[in-house]
Amino acid sequence: MLFEEDPENPAGRIPVTGPGATRVPRDQGPLWSFGMLAGVSLALMLLTGVFLAMNYVVGVQPFETIQWIMRVVSYGWLIRFMHMAGTSIFFVIAFINVGRSLYYGSYKRPRQRVWMLGLVTLILMMLTAYTGYLLPMGQMSYWSTLALAHTLAGFPFVGHNIVRWIMGGDGIDSATLTHFYTFHLLFALAILGAVVGHLQARRIDAAEAPRLEMASVETVPFHPFYTVRAAVALLTFLIVCAVIVFFLPYTFEQSANFQPADPLVTPSNITPQWYLLPFYAMTRCTQSPLLSLALVVAGWAALFALPWLDPSPIHGPRRRPLFQPALFGFFVVVILLGWAGAHPTTSGWVLLDRLFTLLYFLFFLVGVPLLGVIETPGASLGVSLSQRFSVKALLEGRGAGTLLLAALLVAASATTAARAQDTANVSQDEGWGFQGAFGTFDRASLQRGFQVYQQACAGCHGLQFLRYGDLEGIGLRPAQTAAIAATAQVPGGFNSAGLPITRPGIPSDPFHNPWPNPQAARAASYGAYPPDLSLIVDQRPDGPTYIDHLLTGYGTAPPGVTLFPNRSWNAAFPGNQIAMAAPLRAGQMTFLDGTRATVPQMSRDVTTFLAWASDPSVEERRQDGVRIILFLGFLLFLTTLLRRRIWGVLPRA
């Protein structure tokens, strides 16, 4: 392969792709596109960030602001989902970049600068993401921000002052939000600066490297050969992004974050965003805040020191029979570290945190220095990366590729399971027609569901993020939505005597809230707050199924169970004792379309309606997604044809 360095001449590698390179090795693999993809991700994050900043109201009602962006601002959902899912996509790309640099020894002399500036970029990305995650002010935003901020309290003497100073108070309030918003923008600008430095360093260092191998290794001009390859990579990347943004935007979001931040209720399992998990797991190894902080700092320091820790001059891992498996082992350890970090801090998981943290440091402090000395470089090339990840190798269940994929799968599935752990025993997949990539809502069911909401739920439960005009989405005509709106009395300012007055609602008014304030709601509901239903389907893990089971789960308490006063027995409710009395009774209402109003029917209809209300534009979004993916697919098809034409002129390798 082309990036196998000569042991005698570590510096003599060919410039990598990009503006600095006019000629590029003919056979460099797809991994070398990830630098460009990281740049594209950054550009998209900055672009969507700018437009989000124009619509985000800082410091006041942050949760409501996000819903405003999602539901009211034209294409607000698009910029928000691009920004939200884009963060995770950006980190995936960045981690692949770091992994590739480790694999190909790109951190070695004379490229330490490139490596270190890359790490600086990654740290800044984490800081940007960390500060940005607070801004929607969901439950998980609030609690994971608090948990991580308190790591900083580990600084001797001044730790608590630092936390206070960063947060602008003793807890998270609007000062914290304005602080974090400003930090978020500043860190984002800093990323831009670090990336410029990273690119510049790469250009200079690549230029320093004599192009000795050029005469003997096949190279091709960057343009058009690698421009067309870059275009193929870019379009593939955009299609993947479009699938996530339009069809799976909440892949990386936890259901707790659909709940507005509540300083009085801690979610059962606080987990920061997945890309912070390995370092978060390190902080959990010890109870001492100072030591936690020291571990994270040491973890980063080890990465920064890698060029000096590794005595081996060989860049190419394929001539390093011991280092290569050790490196894949390290990748697996980092993934498992993140996996352990996603679990509750019970002793078993903390033990795993410690084990994987130990392995992490062993790799840097023992593995890397020792292997460089004791290892005999292979005379011939070992297994290549593409062979390692080939379908054949994976099917046969051997090779590092399988190991990595297995670790990823374990981490992903375990994290998902941990997320759902606090749900009651609800079964999967009730065949909701609106789920899945091409799901649609049954309009008749939506309209019946709205009727159920109005007649059975609206007395106690608000629907604050839905507007009367949105009801056109369930198939009502504008005149009908206006008539429904007009039945509500909404605050209409003050009369000439200075007294508050009401006016009939108009379609742009949000749904009438049955309670003037939460205290009144609690007082009238045996102390239990009837939750707002706008996002209830997202707020409960296994959402629609859970709601449906809850509504049909009422029954008499089994023998031996004593109900608390004013509680009803419900099979689906966690703890089985619910303050809400059974809201649905057979024949309680008459549906205009003649459907019989049985409890399961009403339950299913109102669940469908609430699922729609949580995300009224979902069908439109999926349609947009199909169009955009088809368009990108067409472009990809053309580009692939062009790539064949261009690369076809080369003699076979």
């Binding site: 392969m1 006019t22 672009l47 034209s74 294409y75 004599p210 005469a215 507007r467 379609p507 008014d509």
Partner: protein, 207 residues
């Protein structure tokens, strides 16, 4: 693929060795001419470029659209005003789309005076009837911002109203009559009339 041929490797600090075209296929040397550009390739390139440009333009739209006021903000801007408490000879200012809107209850004397004004003398000729709703000549609804960019004064009977009994600009001193026509001063045009309708005998909806 073959590894580097050892004989071509020169010490680090020396100039790169000359190329050895005999070893390589001609396309792979630095001096190679660009690969042949066939008509099919050109066609592909042009189709691709055109499609990409169309795609980019379409991609720009949603971003710009987020800056537009949303449909909900736009539809909720209608302002309903109850005219009940406004005595004749007086006026109120309400806000519509962030702009001041003057609502003036005219006295019969003011109406007669404006109706009898010779519009040929006016700088920006307009009849009184063209600036009020038919059957509601006692109500005048105007944009409060004059051509000079200042909000005129004169709603309250105690405000300065100028020689024509309407409004006066506090900036350039232009004077308007009770139906908002420019009568003296530097301004060239009348005060604008916003879209509004009488939703009942005593309420108007602006917007």
């Amino acid at each position: 693929m073959a590894g580097p041929a050892t004989e071509t490797i020169a010490p680090f600090d020396q100039a790169p060795p000359p190329h050895t075209p005999a070893v390589e296929p001609h396309l792979l040397t630095e001096a190679a001419p660009p690969p042949h550009a066939g008509p099919r390739r050109d066609f592909l390139k042009m189709t691709l470029a055109a499609t990409s440009v169309v795609g980019l333009c379409m991609a720009i739209w949603p971003f710009l659209d987020t800056m537009d006021p949303s449909h909900i903000v736009v539809t909720s801007t209608d302002v309903t005003v109850n005219l009940g408490g406004i005595p004749a000879g007086s006026g109120v200012t309400v806000v519509w789309k962030g702009q001041p809107i003057l609502i003036r209850h005219r006295t019969p004397a003011e109406i007669t005076r404006e109706q009898n004004t010779n519009i040929l003398q006016l700088r920006d000729p307009a009849t009184d009837g063209s600036r009020v709703k038919t059957g509601h000549a006692d109500w005048v609804v105007l944009f409060g911002t004059g051509p000079d960019g200042c909000v005129v004064v004169g709603n309250s009977p105690s405000d300065p109203r100028g020689h024509y009994g309407g409004w006066v600009s506090p900036c350039d001193g232009s004077q308007y009559d009770t139906v908002g026509r420019i009568r003296s001063g530097p301004a060239k045009t009348n005060l604008g009339v916003p879209p509004y309708d009488f939703s009942s005998a005593t309420t108007i909806t602006i917007g």
